[in-house]
């Protein structure tokens, strides 16, 4: 009896230690996704990967968007840094590459390269070397509530120009509908207005000239005009009461609850608004419309130009090779299709967009495919020191505490201070 028990214990001990020996590698993966339905799919992908690769454990860590941005430099320079990090590419990525905290994964990506959307991969390439793999692209545009539009007698499909858009806002207001909900407290949702106007007004040449300091930089005509047009909109008081105190999540919930007609959104927010609505259902697919950002008069940009993001995973310096291996699995056809099927994102794996089931997201995917100039979010592209000033200054235009001229000057000053 006693002997048997001892044997059983010893056997159990052996099994335990064998298990411990097998699980040698832990891949630490830091993400910022808030939608539990999407995180669930990610988790399942991680578990499947673990099952296929015994001895590897994928550990998910979460940080809220703003907290993540603030902590990133510290996280990256600590010895205990996660192996896989969320990224918006752009200027922030460049800084990280310069600091030497990321792994050059050009060789490791190998042939997968040919299967990923070239434009998206380009965003994660610095000086010819690949530092991350994109898994999502997005477009900024107005998502709207078809019922509320119908109530005010506005036809969403007909809105193509800035003036038509302003008219729609007036009509919605007259019908007693809050035209636009915006998460002004987070500031970046407001910077979309100014930035997208600049993309429309000046196109790619204007942005590139500003980066070189030509035509008055960000204090030039295009950018002052962007502020002025934004001011036209602000003067109509199109936003919900107290918009400067709203966080973006609250704004999406507000939209999902059907309390406002429009939200200038990132395309995948169409899924987020459902998760954040009070009834967890939000605006259903057939009631949800999309308006490409309208063209102002005299715009030099193309109507096909898009503003949006590219999101991907970076591999940090010194990460185990399994980290890249897992990310490669994450951007593979299988996982990308699964995420696309539920319309959580526009996939970057070529062909996976065929799995998108919502007309809404299919439309966005077509827009991005047709775009010849896809401008990354300014607050990411220009790096935090200038990008945050863009956010602050545009929020001040919306709040009426800065004129378009002052805002443009503040941004150009930050750009010149160069830190």
């Amino acid at each position: 009896m006693g002997l048997l028990r001892k044997l059983a214990l010893a056997a159990a001990g052996l099994m335990l230690s064998a298990g411990a020996v097998a699980a040698q590698t832990t891949v630490k993966w830091l993400h910022i996704e808030q939608n539990p339905a999407q995180v669930k799919i990610w988790e399942e992908a991680a578990r499947r990967y673990e099952a296929k690769n015994p001895g590897v454990k994928v550990e998910m860590q979460f940080l809220e968007n703003e907290a993540y941005k603030a902590k990133l430099p510290t996280i990256l320079q600590s010895k205990d840094r996660p192996h896989i990090l969320y990224s918006w590419a752009g200027g922030v990525l460049k800084t990280q590459v310069e600091a030497g905290v990321l792994e050059d994964i050009t060789a490791g990506v190998g042939s997968l390269k040919d299967n990923i959307s070239a434009a998206a991969l380009e965003a994660f390439t610095v000086d010819g070397k690949i530092y991350g793999l994109p898994f999502n692209v997005s477009q900024v545009g107005f998502m709207y509530n078809k019922d509320l539009f119908a109530k005010a007698g506005v036809e969403g499909d007909k809105i193509k120009t800035w003036d038509q858009f302003l008219d729609a806002v007036k009509k919605l207001k007259a019908a007693g509908v809050t035209p636009i909900v915006v998460g002004g407290g987070d500031k970046w949702p407001l910077h979309f207005y100014w930035t997208h106007l600049a993309v429309r007004l000046g196109g790619k040449p204007a942005f590139e000239a500003a980066l070189k300091g030509q035509n008055g930089g960000f204090e030039g005509e295009t950018f002052i005009k962007s502020g002025e047009l934004m001011k036209q909109l602000v003067d109509l008081e199109p936003f919900q009461t107290g918009f400067l105190g709203f966080k973006n999540q609250q704004a999406l919930g507000f939209f999902g609850d059907g309390k406002a007609a429009m939200n200038l959104a990132i395309s995948h927010h169409s899924a987020t608004q459902r998760a954040l609505a009070a009834d967890k259902k939000g605006i259903p697919e057939d009631k949800l419309g999309w308006i490409d950002f309208p063209m102002p008069a005299g715009a030099k940009g193309q109507p096909t130009d898009t503003l949006g993001g590219v999101n991907g995973w970076l591999i940090t310096k010194g990460a185990p090779k399994e980290a890249l291996d897992f990310v490669k699995y994450f951007v593979s056809d299988e996982v990308q299709r699964e995420l696309a099927k539920q319309n959580f994102l526009i996939p970057t794996y070529k062909g996976a967009e065929a799995a998108l089931s919502a007309a809404f997201m299919q439309n966005v995917a077509r827009n991005i495919a047709a775009s010849k100039y896809h401008q990354n979010f300014y607050d990411q592209d220009l790096g935090p020191s200038v990008g945050r000033v863009v956010n602050d200054a545009t929020a001040e235009i919306a709040g009426g505490s800065m004129t378009p001229k002052q805002a443009a000057k503040a941004i150009q000053d930050a750009f010149k201070q160069g830190n």
Binding site: P73, T95, Q96, G185, K187, T241, G245, S385, S401
Partner: protein
């Protein structure tokens, strides 16, 4: 004999010094002195926090700070918080203490109740009040609607954001000062009050000429805490307004965070830190010298 004894005493003190001073000194140096020196050093660089700073720009960061509109607002907001702490919070705490220091039914329960906000974590307090202030769903909004008025969005307006924060500050910290006063009142020699009463002093006279003067050391301490606490205010501001809208409710520390940390401008942030440090140290030493000499 006496010489030997004295030497022994000195030896004893010396060995105690040698034993106890180094660890304390070491910790103080590593965690207090070095970071201050480091911040001062960083403040001369244009540096984004990655690698080592290389771009020396001298005092430019300080000029950027003084030149920015936001820092002036933040500084004024700090002064405002100090003023409100001194003019509203402390008198409120003192008068409540005078009532609750007496023993009567429920006085202990009331003390606990008023002290409770102080125990609550700052972030939690901020979040709770951001729900209360919410113009659509908040408690305040329902109260306004019950009276048929339109609910204000206190946190979303440059006019009222600071007011909203001040209310929370007073609510959160008056209990702490009240407790300080209650402790002092209970430690007070009751005979003095009794003697004055026998001599025919009225309650007001006792209060003015006996109780409050005896409380002076505590009041001075309380003011010291209030001012230093106000200067450091940060974690209440972040969940409420993050210093917005348009920098209207920044304190110096939240300004540091928003402009130094969030923008990854470590040099600039360090410059703000140094300025803040100088203000705090100047205040602390001046105050100690002028008002807290006897303690």
């Amino acid at each position: 004999m006496a010489m030997v004894r004295r030497r022994k005493a000195i030896d004893g003190r010396l060995s105690a010094l040698l034993l106890f001073l180094p660890p304390a000194l070491l910790l103080f140096t590593i965690f207090v002195v070095l970071p201050i020196v480091e911040a001062a050093w960083y403040s001369g660089f244009n540096w984004n926090g990655f690698g080592t700073p290389t771009k020396w720009i001298g005092l430019d960061n300080y000029w950027f700070v003084f030149d920015s509109r936001g820092f002036g607002t933040a500084f004024r907001n700090n002064l405002l918080i100090i003023a409100v702490s001194l003019v509203i919070q402390l008198p409120l705490a003192l008068s409540l203490a005078l009532i609750l220091a007496e023993r009567f039914r429920g006085s202990v329960a009331l003390r606990m109740l008023f002290f409770l906000p102080y125990v609550l974590a700052e972030i939690a307090t901020g979040l709770i009040f951001s729900f209360i202030y919410d113009g659509n769903y908040g408690l305040l909004a329902s109260i306004f609607r019950a009276f048929g008025a339109e609910a204000p969005h206190l946190l979303a307006s440059t006019q009222t954001s600071m007011l909203a924060i001040l209310i929370v500050v007073v609510w959160k910290y008056f209990g702490f000062h009240m407790m300080l006063f209650i402790a002092a009142l209970q430690g007070m020699d009751k005979n003095l009050v009794e003697a004055a009463r026998i001599d025919g002093a009225s309650r007001m006279q006792v209060l003015r000429h006996i109780v409050v003067p005896l409380l002076y050391p505590t009041i001075r301490l309380s003011i010291f805490f209030a001012v230093v606490g106000s200067l450091q205010l940060f974690d209440l501001v972040m969940p409420l307004t993050r210093g917005g809208p348009a920098d209207s409710s920044n304190t110096m520390v939240s300004f540091l965070y928003n402009n130094g940390v969030s923008r990854m401008r470590v040099g600039y942030g360090s410059a703000i830190g140094v300025i803040l440090f100088v203000i705090c140290v100047t205040f602390a030493f001046t105050y100690k010298r002028w008002f807290m000499r006897d303690e």
